[in-house]
Structure formats: C-alpha cells, structure tokens
C-alpha cells in the first residue's frame, strides 16, 4: 500500500502544509562521525557545504517572511566554517535558533569554543544520544563516542544548558539501535533523566524519540540483512492516523546545502522535489505559497506515522 492510499483509507486528506513556522536548513553533509543510522550518510569525506551566498538568501527569507524559528542541521553543522555567520544574522533578526549537534565535534581541533558561542547566542541545542549506556551508543556511533558525548554534556551543563526549565535548552535525541521501534517518549525521558543523573551527573531539557527512517545507512543495513521488506511492512501496519497531524513537514520547510527547498530533510536525501508549480529554491522563497503546499510523499513517510509517530521534535501522536 502506498502512503497516499493509506491516508485515504484512514479518512485523512492528502498531506498539505498548514503553515511554515520553521525554516530547517541543512548546511552540509560533512561530519566527523559516520553513524550507522544516519539518513544523510554524513561523514568526513562529504564535500557538500552551504556557501555564504546561500546563507544570505536564508537570512533574506527569514527577514521577508517573518518566520521566527531557524533549525540548523547537517552533517555536523559546526564543520561548515560559515555557521557562526548564519547564527549571528538570524539572532540579529530575533529568530529562535536550534542547532542539531552531535556533541563529539567540540573535541575536534578549532571547535572548542562552540559551546561558549552557543551560550552567548542563546541557542537551543538538539543533541543525538541514542541511549544512556555506552555499549548501545558506541555500537551505532563508533568506539568512544559515548564518553566524548558525556564530557560534552558536562561542559554544556556547566554553561547553563539543560539544567532547569527556564534556562538554555538542551534536548537529547533517542533512536533505536536497530530494526525496532522507539519506546514511549515520556517514559524514556524519565528513564534517561534518572540514569544520566545517577551514572554521570548530567541533565537535559527534553528527550525526543525518533523512528529510524528506511533511508541512507539504515536502509543499507536493512538491505544487507535482507530485512527491508519486513521493516517496511511493519511501518505500514503501524500507520497511525493520529500521528499525521503532528508530522513536521506540515509546519516546516527544509533547505538543502545548495539552496533547494524540500518538504523535509528525508525528501532532501531522496532528491524528492516540492510538488506543483511553486518556487523551489531559497532565492525565490515565497512563504505564502509554501504555507498551503501539497507535500511530496513516498514510502518513507510511513516512518513518521508509525505508532507514536516521529517528527524532528520526537513523538508526533
């Protein structure tokens, strides 16, 4: 069954945007790590990097549209040498800026000042930490990654991130370490909070649980294990109409490193263009047209609507 057909069968209308309140910008696929679940297939050898001219167009789009949330992702955004420029310009416009960070990059040469820069610009950090135990994290992200992540979390806590509800936000992201679905987000958040405090004395603001999307390296893993069809069947069978309302593509527009617009970061990785006759690059950004656009869907959309749902902010239902 196709995704569009599943919507119809459950009485849901075709997927359309309801607004554009977040501009999500992927500023490059370069990363200091090569995680097994990465839908971007980011890594040290990736060369795709957003240039300053494209960033200026992003800033113009923010200024012209009044969109107040900039969500910066990658790769490791810190490995784009122009990241600070983008953040400074967006903050000058009064935007709330989120950076999706892998935590380990601050240990790279020349990156040591990033946590302080983030504090000074009141950035919301969304950091990947697939589990609260080292064996599970290192298995997916590489040997020694958990220890580096905990060190980074301690630095961030000391700077005021994730230590109380009124302070600087530090959200963590959990994703399953294989071909199974994430646990209940609320209960897992409670468990992360208790275990990270007890074992390492670190704290955070919120936990987002994400479903592994059948794209990129995780898809390769499924294919290698001859499990892609089974995983897709399970996603289809777990379709939850209640999760459709909360999927991020309905309130977000995604910008690729080269300025191309997409409905989400997953569509960007598939090269799945916006539907219909609307401007498709950041240079021609038109918030009004994008606010009610039809969303391009494919089989991977079942990943965002399975069970409790999965959006950039965690569970969607």
């Amino acid at each position: 069954m196709e995704f569009a057909e599943a919507l119809g069968k459950h009485g849901c209308p075709p997927l359309r945007a309801s607004k554009v309140e977040t501009l999500q910008v992927n500023i490059g696929y370069k990363c200091n790590m090569s995680c097994k679940h990465c839908h971007v297939q980011a890594g040290p050898s990736r060369e795709e990097i957003m240039q300053p001219d494209t960033m200026k167009s992003v800033i113009s789009a923010l200024a012209g549209s009044g969109i107040k949330v900039l969500d910066i992702t990658g790769g490791a955004p810190e490995l784009n040498p122009h990241l600070k420029f983008l953040i400074e310009e967006a903050r000058a416009l009064g935007c709330h800026v989120m950076v999706r960070s892998n935590l380990t990059v601050y240990a790279e040469t020349g990156m040591e000042d990033m946590p302080v820069f983030y504090r000074d610009h009141e950035i919301e950090l969304v950091a990947s930490l697939p589990y609260y135990r080292s064996d599970a994290v290192d298995r997916v992200r590489g040997e020694g990654v958990f220890e580096k992540s905990i060190s980074a979390l301690r630095v961030l806590n000391n700077l005021g991130f994730g230590i109380d509800h009124g302070g600087l936000k530090l959200d963590l992201v959990h994703n399953p370490q294989g071909m199974f679905f994430p646990p209940c987000q609320a209960r897992m958040e409670e468990e992360y909070r208790r275990e990270l405090d007890k074992r390492y004395g670190v704290s955070f603001s919120s936990l987002f649980t994400l479903t592994n999307m059948p794209l990129g390296r995780f898809r390769n893993f499924l294919v290698e294990r001859n499990q892609l069809d089974r995983y897709m069947e399970r996603l289809r069978n777990s379709f939850n109409p209640a999760a459709v309302e909360g999927v991020m593509c309905r309130s977000l527009i995604n910008v690729g490193w080269d300025g191309t617009l997409y409905d989400c970061d997953f569509n960007q990785m598939l090269g799945l263009s916006l539907c219909g006759d609307i401007p498709k690059t950041i240079d021609e950004f038109d918030a009004a047209l994008l606010s009610s656009r039809e969303i391009a869907v494919s089989e991977h959309c079942f990943g965002c609507t399975a069970g409790q749902g999965s959006s950039c902010q965690g569970a969607a239902a």
């Binding site: 589990y131 599970a136 370490q177 679905f181 646990p183 209940c184």
Partner: protein
C-alpha cells in the same frame, strides 16, 4: 533437512487458525488481553514473556520478546537478568527434585 525454524514462519502464525478458527480466535483474544497494561506494566509483561520464552526455549518467542523488550527501552542488562531468573527457576526446579530421588532411595533401601 533445512533449518527447522525459519523466522519468517512467525508471520504465518495466522495459518494455524485455518483448521480451527474459533479456537484460534479465542487464543488471540486471550493472548492480546493478557499482554495489555494492567496491574502489571507492559514493560513488566514483556520481561516475563522473555523469561518464559527462554524457559520453554521457543525461538519465535525469543525473537519476538527480545524485540518487544528493546521497544520498551530495555537493554541487554535487563534482558540478561531476566534470562538469569528463568534459568535459576529452571535450575532450582531440577535441583528440588533431588528430594524425590532421596525419598526414593529411602523408600527402596533397607
């Protein structure tokens, strides 16, 4: 003979119902109800399921309940402790029967 247990066969469980659909329907309803959150949480129930799966050594159940445990956010530490409980009960159940052997010795000995 090829592999006796094929993990794809678990998806064919419904075929068992073809020859006695009423009984199978009752089993499925009962099975589903027993795993719903009650006085025990779903997490406690899947751990019990995992332990029993090991005690009865059912490969299908081990696959299914290991995955269920992971989807409840449990990890290898939880899983291994649960299997130790199952093993300890099985071991103890064997060992306690030594009393029967001792009784038999007493009964048939002069």
């Amino acid at each position: 003979m090829g592999d006796y247990y094929d993990d794809k066969d678990l998806d064919r469980f419904g075929e068992v119902g073809k020859h006695s659909p009423d009984l199978f329907k009752k089993f499925i309803e009962w099975y589903s109800a027993s795993l719903k959150e009650g006085v025990l949480s779903r997490r406690e129930k899947v751990l019990i399921g995992l332990a029993v799966a090991h005690a009865v050594q059912c490969p299908y159940c081990i696959d299914a309940y290991t995955k269920n445990c992971l989807e409840e956010g449990l990890n290898l530490e939880h899983i291994t402790e649960a299997v130790h409980v199952a093993s300890a009960i099985r071991g103890g159940a064997t060992l306690i029967h030594a009393v029967q052997a001792h009784n038999t010795v007493d009964r048939i000995s002069m």
